[in-house]
Symmetry: C2
Subunit: 180 residues, 2 copies
DNA sequence: CTCCGAAGTTTACAACGTAAACATACGGGA
DNA sequence: TCCCGTATGTTTACGTTGTAAACTTCGGAG
């Protein structure tokens, strides 16, 4: 029955996320199939190709990121909530480095369902809009870029500073945005 | 004579950069060897493995980036020079997307000669220090992160805005840094 | 019961990174 | 001059990958 189909499909996504834990190099279509206990060609019944599977994995990652941002946002108010979101974003990237990289760099956009990526963005945009109603577009872009930059530079080992430095940087930007 | 060695070594790097023009997917060790007109194993006489070759390519990229930043920095003074550097950084990423990605995400750090990556960073740090002597560390980090975030998000098709938006965002941050 | 479509398997191929063994040619000591 | 070690490259080989094609199997609709 159709349940089986969905079972394997989701099992593949789950196993892929699991394999991402051991570095992105271990993530091949075949290794995912092996982990799920099926033949190398079985995934093609559920995904167009490897990129499609990775896209589904990325979508899962975006959903998780959105949840993380929402929780963080609720921990404070006003500009401070912005800082909390930023720190949470960076922490997420550090906790799941391979997944984070996959979500952005590796998979081309066509493979990621649009709502997935957008819902995480919306959490940020909403908070920025509440804090700086005018210029909220530029401010949102700036926040995202700065946080994303910190996260990726850290993942790529280009910077080593810890969360105190992150907080300082984020507060600097937040101050500029909130005005004054 | 030793000239030949250096010739092939540099030819490989050159061909690799050339192949990067057609998307990073076309860049295999074998394809580079083919482009240079040698056998598939020849590169191993000059590079430990594929990552080492990519590291050399990345180093070349960093040198180019540093030059670009220096030229841009010379186009203005004070905070405006900061904005110029940022725009140049983003423009570089857009002009050579695959090379830029290679420089950061793909190659692990051990394969990149340290001075290569550092000299580009120094150009930014110097200007920030001249503009905001106190807090120059946090400010430099912030500038780099924001610019890098804009560049990578654009590369990954996560944002579509043009250079006017970039300029606005950069000016916002610069204002916060220069103080007041 | 029959038959069909969906789910999975087996087999096959080209391309990849790289290990190992071999060829070749050049420069310096005997 | 001869000779030999070292640097440079080639050939061959192996295991892994993504994926195309042809097959099996099987549960439900007619």
């Amino acid at each position: 029955m159709k349940n089986e189909r969905i079972d394997l499909r989701e099992a593949l996504i789950r196993e892929a996320i699991g394999l991402l834990g051991n570095g992105p190099a271990d993530l091949s279509l075949r290794s995912v199939a092996r982990a799920a206990g099926v033949s190398a060609m079985a995934p093609y019944r559920h995904f167009e190709d490897k990129a499609a599977l990775l896209g589904a994995v990325a979508a899962q990652g975006f959903a998780e990121l959105r949840d993380v941002l929402e929780v963080a946002d609720a921990r404070a108010e006003g500009g401070a909530a912005l800082v909390e979101q930023g720190l949470a974003y960076i922490a997420f990237a550090q906790r799941r480095p391979s997944l984070f990289r996959l979500m952005f760099a590796s998979v081309d956009l066509a493979c990621i369902p649009k709502p997935a990526g957008m819902s995480a963005y919306a959490v940020l945009a909403r908070r920025v809009a509440s804090v700086a109603p005018d210029s909220s577009e530029v401010s949102t872009l700036g926040c995202w870029a700065m946080v994303h930059g910190l996260a990726t530079l850290r993942l790529d080992r280009r910077i080593e500073a810890g969360s105190e430095a992150d907080r300082s940087v984020l507060m600097l930007l937040t101050a500029a945005i909130v005005g004054r």
